[in-house]
């Protein structure tokens, strides 16, 4: 069935081949095009859904790991503080995380902090401590601020300060390995 010509099909538009002419309304019988579009949309939608679900599962695993990291920090340091800073290895994309928290009660980063480097799988809700270091109060976690490295942090040369800053509290090496 053909649709009657519209005013647009006169002049320049009228000289165009039928398939290229502008139209006021869609031609009937576009079922196959619509079907192709719908199929592509469904496939794209499914792909996005799979990617989203996979990302949620991955993030859930990361969250489980971070919970184990914080639990390990509390066990090793003996401080049951809630405000702990966690940092993931976003450059190397390993499961190595760093958890930092105050060595004495106070607001986040208001006191000297002890940071633990945690590696390996979660076993019994804990992870293995491979090393660590200390940070002065109110400082960013940068190499130039770190001191008293121990374990893998010492071997990797993560500390920029050779001696603790003046007036810093004791900075003993904490036990490494699985706790």
């Amino acid at each position: 069935m053909s649709t009657p010509p519209t005013p647009l099909q006169t002049g320049l538009a009228g000289r165009m081949p039928e398939w290229a002419r502008p139209r006021e309304d869609e031609r009937h019988g576009l079922g196959s095009l619509r079907l192709a579009e719908t199929t592509i949309l469904i496939l794209v939608g499914l792909f996005l859904a799979v990617a989203t679900i996979a990302d949620v599962v991955k993030q859930t695993h990361v969250n489980h790991r971070l919970v184990a990291d914080m639990r390990t920090w509390r066990t090793v340091t003996g401080h049951n503080y809630r405000s702990l800073g966690t940092e993931q290895d976003v450059k190397g994309h390993t499961t190595r995380d760093t958890v930092c928290g105050n060595v004495s009660p106070g607001g986040p980063r208001e006191r000297t902090q002890v940071c633990l480097v945690l590696v390996g799988p979660v076993v019994s809700s804990r992870r293995e401590v491979s090393g660590g270091y200390y940070l002065p109060a109110k400082s960013e976690d940068r190499r130039r601020s770190r001191y008293a490295c121990f374990g893998s942090a010492l071997q990797a040369g993560l500390c920029g300060l050779r001696t603790p800053p003046a007036g810093a509290p004791p900075s003993p090496a904490l036990p490494t390995g699985r706790r």
Binding site: T38, D55, V62, H93
Partner: protein
């Protein structure tokens, strides 16, 4: 028959109660402050203190999921509820959020900072970031990622926001909230009107947009300027339907001068109407605004392309390209991926332009393009999924509505990991 109607009415009432309760929970708990979901800000919702508890991820996500479930069911019942019910529910939800604190985003503090830069400090917000006013009271509330970034918003929006700078930070915050409320209400009124003119169910269109959880909680909750863009976009659609095409072209330009993505409507409108009037309206409005922007902000105020190029390089964890990169075992999005995404977007737009030339609904084509931009963008935020929503609500192609709501559902799904494995 009568009993069935009573049951449906009762069910709709129960769904409305769930939506209202979820919104109240988020707002009252958010008013307490000290929450990772509530940006640090002047305590504007202090008068709601003492009712709620500190808003945590768990409560927020459960409330959001309850709201989403009720919203989905409400859309299925939309044809059975009365217009009065739909309007009352929409108004109640908007007012609850308006009365509360800023939710989930620090963007509004960037808006205020840019306005105060220009008005109070005489600094061009198109050249400098908020760091240039580090001594200003609003500076500490600006998101840390945005302190160095000059504004990417259009000059019309920046000019609209300037008068609020005189009100102080708290006054400006209420001004921004009021502007978002009014822009949202205007969008909803125009959505209703356009749906009626296109012989679609206006109640369904209103409920699709007005009680949408992302619209209410994220869009209005964060007082986002995207609502001003949607107002102007829907104004353009409404003016086209009323055959006032020159004004429609000007309205699209105004939308683009709030947020550049608004320009998307123009080529589809021109191809569909095939008249000079919208083009003339767009050109006149564009030249007038460019002149004003140039006089106030200099060349940086009209260089929208530079701002878009800068923002296109940002990457957020919620974006679909990032999720796909993770799925494929990559750590994130690489520059080559940006090029592939742009190529994909160009293909989609060319297909839609061709379809519009051949008679496809230009409103739907515009909506598909806005949806494609948000899906292919490496920087996806909740309120970007609102761009296509009002167009989808008044589109004749119902696939657009299903696709927009599906994208929103996936966005919400992606927020759920703190619920599945809380970190504490």
């Amino acid at each position: 028959m009568q009993a069935g109607r009573v049951w449906l009415r009762a069910l709709a009432g129960a769904l409305a109660v769930v939506m209202l309760a979820a919104t109240l929970e988020i707002v009252l708990d958010g008013a307490v402050g000290h929450s990772p979901l509530i940006p640090k800000s002047p305590h504007i919702a202090a008068w709601l203190d003492g009712v709620g508890e500190r808003l945590g991820f768990r409560v927020f996500l459960i409330a959001l999921l309850a709201y989403v479930g009720a919203y989905a069911c409400m859309l299925l019942l939309a044809r059975r509820v009365s217009a009065r019910f739909a309007i009352a529910l929409t108004i109640a939800l908007q007012l609850i959020v308006f009365a509360g604190p800023i939710l989930l985003s620090t963007d509004v503090f960037s808006y205020i900072a840019y306005a105060r830069m220009g008005v109070v400090h005489g600094i061009n917000p198109y050249i400098h970031g908020p760091i240039a006013i580090a001594s200003d009271p609003v500076y500490h509330d600006v998101g840390k990622d945005w302190k160095l970034v000059a504004t990417a918003y259009g000059p019309l929006y920046t000019l609209i926001s300037y008068p609020l700078a005189w009100l102080g930070v708290t006054g400006a915050l209420w001004g921004m909230k009021l502007m978002a409320l009014l822009a949202g209400a205007g969008t909803l009124a125009l959505t209703w009107r356009c749906a009626r003119l296109r012989q679609l169910d206006p109640k369904l269109a209103l409920l699709v947009v007005g009680v949408n959880p992302l619209w209410v909680i994220y869009g209005l909750g964060g007082a986002h300027n995207d609502l001003i863009m949607t107002l102007l976009m829907m104004g353009a659609v409404s003016l086209t339907l009323a055959r006032r095409e020159a004004y429609a072209g000007a309205a699209v330009i105004a939308a683009a001068l709030v947020k550049a993505t608004g320009i998307v409507l123009l080529p589809f409108m021109l191809l569909s109407t095939r008249r000079l009037a919208p083009l003339l309206g767009a050109v006149v409005a564009g030249l007038a605004c460019a002149l004003v922007a140039f006089l106030v902000f200099g060349i940086h105020g009209v260089d929208v392309v530079a701002a878009l190029n800068r923002d296109a390089a940002f990457v957020s964890t919620d974006s679909f390209p990032t999720e796909i990169a993770h799925l494929l075992g990559k750590p994130g999005v690489f520059p080559v991926d940006h090029d592939l995404l742009k190529a994909g977007l160009v293909l989609i737009v060319v297909h839609l332009l061709w379809r519009t030339w051949r008679g496809y609904d230009w409103v739907a084509a515009s909506g598909w393009t806005l949806l494609a931009i948000s899906v292919t963008s490496t920087w996806l935020l909740a309120w970007y999924t609102l761009w296509s929503l009002p167009l989808a609500a008044v589109s004749r192609d119902r696939r657009l509505l299903v696709a927009t709501l599906s994208v929103q559902a996936l966005f919400i799904l992606h927020q759920l990991s703190p619920l599945l494995a809380p970190v504490s």
